[in-house]
Amino acid sequence: MTLNTLEFLLQESWTSIRRNGIISAAAVTNITVVLIVAGIFVLLSANVDFWLGAQAKKATITVDLAADADTGEVEAAMLADERVARTQFRTKDENLRDLFQRQGWDLKTMKYLDNPLPDSLVVETVNPEDVPAVGQMASGVKGVTGVHYAQDVAVRLLKLIRGAKLTGAALSMVLAAAALVVVATTIRLTIYARRREIRIMQLVGATHWFVRLPFLLEGVMYGAGSGMISAVFLLAGYAYLDEQVDKTLPFLQLVFGPRALALLGLGSVAAGLVLGLAGSVLATREYLREV
């Protein structure tokens, strides 16, 4: 590709963006809104994961076994449930040692005690929010005498948050689809406005890709522009929020490292590019042949 060609292509794209004026602005605004909304949800879930994830993910269930229980059978019953990730058998002696260690008692005195603790299984679930349900299931298994787990607030909260995340993802998808349509329509208008030019290009021997490229570039420019605008909004808004949280809720820590912020900015631009390009690919595939 010669320098002249590159200049020609960029100029073609830029000219049509300028000529489209208001419609171009609408496309950019639309993508920007999508990116900001999506960005907010990403930030929200990143922070929630950060706050709750560590505790909730540690959530396990301890299942006490009857003295005459068939350990293998109980273990098999637990593993048969697909919510269960793994189980670990602990003898009553190990449990006693744990208890002593937790309480800070002298381990030497352990042997003078008739161990009152049962053998147990430590059950880990795939999803932390399944802990209560699995616990309930476990209490029904033959040979199980007791079930303990942290009825943690975090576990319940996590369930709630997951719902919110799904809603956010769905909303972002719907908005993204709308933005896609707007971009495609904008570029369709460009194609229509330039149909004479396109016809001439085809007549004098421009390849299909050469004809198509300015329109793809137009979409990419919309996307890149929107990505940058939304990155600025998101970063500025988040920085402000971080400051406020520091002042009013000093015990709360936001995810706010240079890496996270760079990721947010780049992610926003990348998502914008993808949306812009996808819209223009759609438009050129549909309408370029009709010219």
């Binding site: 016809r199 001439i200 290009m201 007549l203």
Partner: protein, 228 residues
């Protein structure tokens, strides 16, 4: 340079535009294709620049069988086949120079090449001094000359003209035809579809007469429009 062998074109709606046409045109030849409106003149040209494929028969242009040319190869055919239309098809927001240069831009030519070739093409059609003018500031004849320059700037082997004088008055038409004849004399094969009797009768070059999609006369000796 251009060979049509038993070419038939039937449009999807069933219209038979061209029926079993065979035509051989040599390098550097100048040929008029004449006939009433709807006789199939334009279709014949469209076959050559591969706007449409033949329903049956074969089309060969510059030793290339374009009968079943892949869509992705069509642009490369268009670079050796220039086309001129009745309505000029110029871009109004570009100057004469830019309109001609446009044909080089879209085939990926370098800036240097553009600056070398555009003036030559404009010189050839006698518009060198109007390079910076916009099409709407030109007369119809001048606009047609710009479109000829644009078709020529890629140095095509074949130049097709579909009713190039349809919008021009007789004197200007004659000028345009002389330019086209001149181009043929320089070695480019020129095929002109027209129903302009006057230019055909005056130039006395090969005339292919077509009626209802069939060639009814091929006068290689340089006939007139209506010679039987």
């Amino acid at each position: 340079m251009v060979y049509l062998e038993d070419v038939t074109v039937v449009y999807p709606n069933g219209t038979r535009a061209v029926t079993e046409v065979s035509l051989h045109i040599e390098r550097g030849e100048f040929v008029f294709i004449v006939g009433p409106s709807g006789s199939g003149k334009s279709t014949l040209l469209q076959l050559i620049y591969r706007e449409i494929p033949p329903t049956a028969g074969r089309v060969i242009v510059a030793s290339q069988d374009v009968t079943a040319l892949l869509g992705s190869r069509v642009p490369y055919l268009r670079r050796i086949v220039g086309v001129v239309f009745q309505d000029f098809r110029l871009l109004p927001e570009r100057t004469v120079w830019e309109n001609v240069g446009f044909a080089l831009d879209v085939v990926g030519a370098s800036r240097r090449e553009k600056f070398r070739r555009v003036p030559v093409a404009l010189e050839l059609v006698g518009l060198a001094e109007k390079a910076q003018v916009y099409p709407n500031e030109l007369s119809a004849g001048e606009q047609q000359r710009v479109s000829i320059a644009r078709a020529l700037v890629n140095a095509p082997q074949v130049l097709l003209a579909d009713e190039p004088t349809g919008n021009l008055d007789p004197e200007i038409s004659w000028e345009i035809v002389q330019i086209l004849a001149d181009i043929a004399d320089r070695g480019t094969t020129v095929i002109v579809a027209t129903h302009d009797r006057e230019i055909v009768n005056r130039l006395r070059r090969r005339v292919v007469s077509i009626t209802s999609g069939r060639i009814v006369r091929d006068d290689r000796s340089g006939g007139g429009y209506d010679d039987a």
